[in-house]
């Protein structure tokens, strides 16, 4: 298998296997997350594709157990207490500076997704579990985290070691799945193609 870029030693099949084995983890142990691993995850987020390079999001790292409990209390979509939460906030000052239309510009939310995906993939490569959450009270989280008025929490990425019962990996998949064939149309909307042989 050839590499995608000169100088990089990433096997494309291994990268696909990494992405296709990541699973959402909803049950974390309280085991400490190494700080160097955390920085690497945040760095991966920084490299996420971003509309017009506007960088209107800020990442708030929460590790204090009491703060994590309070955020969880206001988040019906979060079921256990992870060791780390990364709260992705839209910085309204940055939005104003970039002259974006806050609730009309879809790229603001797309960039939240790319940020989350990069971080979750990197965490998986480090053997950590993740779970994204948007099912929380924005108003409640703003209060318990003492967010300034110009910071709007959009999503929370939970990071930690899976509990004994949890798992963050699935069997690897390195070739297209039947489901992919149903999801992808070629040339015309609705026109599917058979999977390649093998």
């Amino acid at each position: 298998m050839t590499t995608a870029s000169p100088g990089l030693r990433v096997d494309p099949a291994e990268l696909l296997a990494l992405m296709s084995t990541r699973r959402v983890v909803r049950d974390f142990s309280q085991q400490h997350v190494d700080e160097s691993a955390l920085w690497m995850i945040l760095e991966a987020g920084r490299w996420a594709t971003c509309a017009s390079n506007n960088r209107v999001h800020r990442l708030l790292v929460v590790r204090d157990p009491q703060q994590i409990k309070l955020v969880t209390d206001m988040s019906p979509g979060i079921f256990t207490h992870p060791a780390v939460m990364v709260v992705i906030c839209t910085d309204l000052h940055a939005v104003a500076s970039a002259q974006l239309q806050l609730d009309a510009d879809r790229t603001i939310f797309m960039d939240v997704g790319t940020l989350m995906m990069n971080m979750m993939t990197q965490a998986h490569a480090l053997g950590l579990g993740t779970c994204p959450a948007t099912s929380f009270s924005q108003a409640g989280v703003e209060v318990v985290l003492g967010l300034p008025r110009h910071a709007r929490p959009e999503a929370i990425v939970q990071i930690g070691h899976p509990s004994a019962a949890g798992t963050c990996a699935a069997p690897p998949r390195t070739r297209p799945s039947p489901l992919l064939a149903e999801l992808v149309y070629w040339e015309r909307y609705g026109q599917t193609a058979p999977l390649p042989p093998g």
């Binding site: 209390d73 206001m74 019906p76 099912s135 009270s137 108003a139 409640g140």
Partner: protein, 122 residues
């Protein structure tokens, strides 16, 4: 006035058996309910049922954690925790469970009221 009866391990309110719940648990459940009320207006409608089942499981767990010895409630809590996540994996089964849960609780209420729940089944 003490909320407890003469027997310390059998709390009572107005002469009736009471289930104790810690204050922290009450506030956590309160937070869950109001946060759910906020987010349910933007979530798919079936999430409303999920949030309420989750709240019921949390309430059950809170009562059990505070020492309530009730095998029926313990079984219900386990059942709620197991069944609520069907919302994500098997929605028809999730919908089928909702009246089952209601029936289970109604039977318990009827028994507590002195009725014969089994006789009341359709």
């Amino acid at each position: 006035m003490s909320p407890h009866s003469d027997q310390a391990d059998h709390p009572a309110v107005n002469g009736k058996p009471a289930a104790m719940v810690g204050q922290d648990c009450v506030y956590e459940l309160l937070a869950h309910l109001v946060a759910s009320a906020e987010i349910c207006v933007v979530e798919p409608h079936y999430y409303g049922s999920f949030r309420l089942l989750d709240a019921a499981a949390k309430l059950s767990a809170a009562m059990l954690d505070c020492g309530l010895d009730d095998p029926w409630l313990s079984a219900l809590q386990a059942e709620l925790d197991r069944s609520k996540i069907l919302m994500m994996s098997d929605r028809p089964a999730f919908y089928s469970y909702l009246p089952q849960a209601s029936r289970r609780v109604a039977e318990r209420l009827s028994q507590a009221a002195g009725g014969h729940a089994e006789d009341m089944k359709p």
